[in-house]
């Protein structure tokens, strides 16, 4: 059964390649995309079930034993993240045909889409640091493809900045891997962890860890490295923004979670305490950013940053509640961010603008859109009983257990301001006179709403039905906090 581990990488890869051949046949591409994403989703679902039932799947690619070959490690964390990724991908696949992609659909939107999924899934599954770099490049290259697609002035300009900053951080990634290789003589993560533990993370290792942290933090858009994010995430088509917002930063934060729960865990008073600071600053500056603008897309894009702040808080406190909170929040945020990006895409398209100051009274024309936004705001801000609340509850509890009072207060205030930033859209955009806007496009939006509603339903389920999920998340957190299990499962088979 160990070959299961490679399916989440191979299925989208093959899908992408097939779709290259049919790129001119838009209708066929759409059908195939839906079909493939459903197949991939089903597989991911089965794998998750299998992993949760039977434990980690280890696949030695090419049958080369660890640590010499590239090892794929499908553990609980990887499985649920792959599953979430596929959920999002499926939602986007069903949204894309109505998203107004136009020519972009011919010019390889669908292949890029599946390449992106390939890279993201690969990054979650791989147990090899250099291979992680390669998957990063796959997903970045796919994202470059998506972001430049059919771009005008603005889009090309922002893509250029996006590409340059990511190029720099990729080079730093390779460099850091090289440094680590010199010290521990391996690129297999389990073995790195074992060897770092053996020398108690002495000397230069922590500095290398910090360099790696910054590489991931740049991708994850943590304070103070997120500058590139907000603008470049809002220029492409909403479906692309949604994919970026949901997946790219999360790969970064996943990498931090993995490396700083597995490898660099012997100097937590230095490294992980800093994370708590960074968490607080990310929350504050992120939410300030969200309040600073009247561009609804930008509001959502800025909201990525405090969310990442919440997630790293759990990594910083590094206790069972903190880590389960991080994972729960990670999954929650992937889903709700997709929904929100897709939603504001629809709002901007019916309003003909993304400037809040030019909107008003939309609820008279599109009540369903307004209520979906309202619900999303509540989910995003972590109001109970939705998914965000469970994550936040665990994170704050974890922080309290470590006596981190200040960060909890920041977290609570941030939640308020996050809610405010979304309610602002609701109040100014949807409430008001029926005649507030002179020109509102009457469009059929049901096709666009179906994926959004499904994602929101899932968010609600993740909150109300937390009993179905949390015990698994909790056991994953316990597993992550004991790196020996990971090391043994990879190296001692």
């Amino acid at each position: 059964m160990s070959n299961l581990a490679v399916l989440p990488i191979i299925i989208p890869l093959i899908s992408a390649i097939i779709l290259i051949f049919f790129h001119r046949k838009v209708k066929l591409s759409r059908v195939l995309t839906k079909l493939f994403s459903l197949i991939s989703l089903g597989t991911a679902g089965y794998i998750t079930w299998y992993v949760l039932e039977n434990g980690t799947i280890i696949l030695n690619t090419g049958d080369w034993i660890a640590p010499y070959g590239i090892i794929l490690v499908m553990d609980g964390l990887a499985a649920i993240l792959v599953l979430t990724t596929n959920v999002i991908a499926t939602a986007c696949a069903f949204y894309a045909p109505y998203a107004g992609l136009e020519k972009r659909e011919i010019y390889y939107f669908y292949p890029f889409f599946f390449f992106l999924i390939t890279g993201v899934s690969g990054a979650f599954i791989t147990g090899d640091l250099f291979n992680l770099f390669v998957f990063f490049e796959v997903l970045l290259m796919a994202s470059y493809g998506l972001i430049v697609l059919g771009g005008g002035k603005v889009q090309l300009r922002e893509s250029l900045k996006y590409l340059l900053i990511n190029l720099f951080s990729s080079m730093l990634f390779v460099t850091a891997v090289a440094f680590l290789y010199a010290v521990v003589g391996t690129v297999n993560m389990a073995q790195i962890a074992e060897r770092v533990q053996e020398v108690e993370q002495q000397g230069i290792i922590t500095t290398i860890g910090i360099l790696l942290f910054f590489v991931f933090a740049t991708k994850a858009a943590l304070f103070p490295l997120y500058y590139w994010l907000p603008k470049s995430y809002i220029v492409p088509n909403p479906v692309i923004s949604a994919l970026f917002g949901a997946l790219l930063t999360k790969v970064g934060i996943y990498s931090i979670l993995r490396t700083f729960s597995l490898i660099f865990i012997h100097k937590t008073d230095l490294t992980h305490d800093m994370f708590i600071w960074i968490a607080g600053l990310s929350m504050i500056f992120g939410v300030i950013g969200a309040l600073s603008t009247s561009n609804i897309k930008l509001i959502i894009a800025y909201n990525i940053i405090p969310a990442i702040g919440f997630i790293i808080l759990g990594i910083g406190v590094l206790n069972p509640d903190g880590i389960s909170g991080s994972i729960y929040y990670l999954i929650h945020d992937m889903i709700i961010k997709t929904a929100l990006f897709l939603l504001v895409g629809v709002i901007a398209s019916v309003a003909g603008t993304s400037d809040l100051r030019k909107m008003g009274g939309l609820i008279h024309y599109y009540p369903s859109l307004g209520w979906l936004l309202f619900l999303s705001g509540a989910v995003l801000a972590g109001l109970p009983p939705f998914s965000g609340f469970i994550g936040k509850l665990l994170l704050l509890k974890g922080a309290f257990e470590e006596g981190e009072i200040a960060i909890v207060i920041i977290g609570l205030l941030t939640s308020l301001l996050i809610l405010y930033s979304i309610v602002k859209i609701f109040i100014n955009g949807f409430w008001g006179d029926k005649e507030a806007m002179t020109h509102i496009e009457k469009k059929p939006i049901n096709g666009l709403l179906t994926p959004i509603v499904s994602l929101l339903a899932l968010s609600v389920l993740l909150g109300v039905g937390a009993e179905l999920f949390y015990p698994h998340i909790e056991s994953i957190a316990t597993y992550l906090l004991d790196p020996e299990i990971y090391i043994d499962s990879v190296l001692k088979e």
């Binding site: 250029l160 390779v174 993304s354």
Partner: protein, 112 residues
């Protein structure tokens, strides 16, 4: 010698970053090229230099230089090449659409 190549890598990084901080797009692109050279030199150095024969098996020789970094560099070179080519086309298109090759003129504003 490892120390000398480390310094070389440092210089490549420094000049790369100086170029990246320039305004003109061409210079920035040159910066990206330099930084990947720096990174590759570093990988090689980290695998130790001249520790043995080239990693091609021959009879009677048991001492080879570390082949793994070389494999990693090869992968990295190819990837960098891909990124660079895309970057060049993108830079060309972006500067054409925006009628400027000065990054500072490519700032943009909030609502567009």
């Amino acid at each position: 010698m490892e120390i000398i190549t480390s310094i070389l890598a440092g210089v490549l990084f420094a000049t790369a970053i100086y170029n990246l901080l320039q305004k003109q797009l061409i210079r920035i692109i040159i910066g990206t090229a330099l930084i990947s050279h720096g990174a590759h030199i570093l990988i090689l150095t980290m695998g130790r230099l001249k520790a043995g024969q080239p990693p091609i098996l021959r009879e009677g020789i048991s001492n080879y230089t570390d082949p793994l970094p070389q494999a990693l560099i090869l992968t990295s070179i190819v990837i960098s090449f891909g990124v660079t080519s895309l970057l060049l086309v993108l830079a060309y298109r972006a500067s054409q659409e925006n009628n400027t090759d000065i990054m500072e003129e490519l700032r943009g504003n909030e609502n567009e």
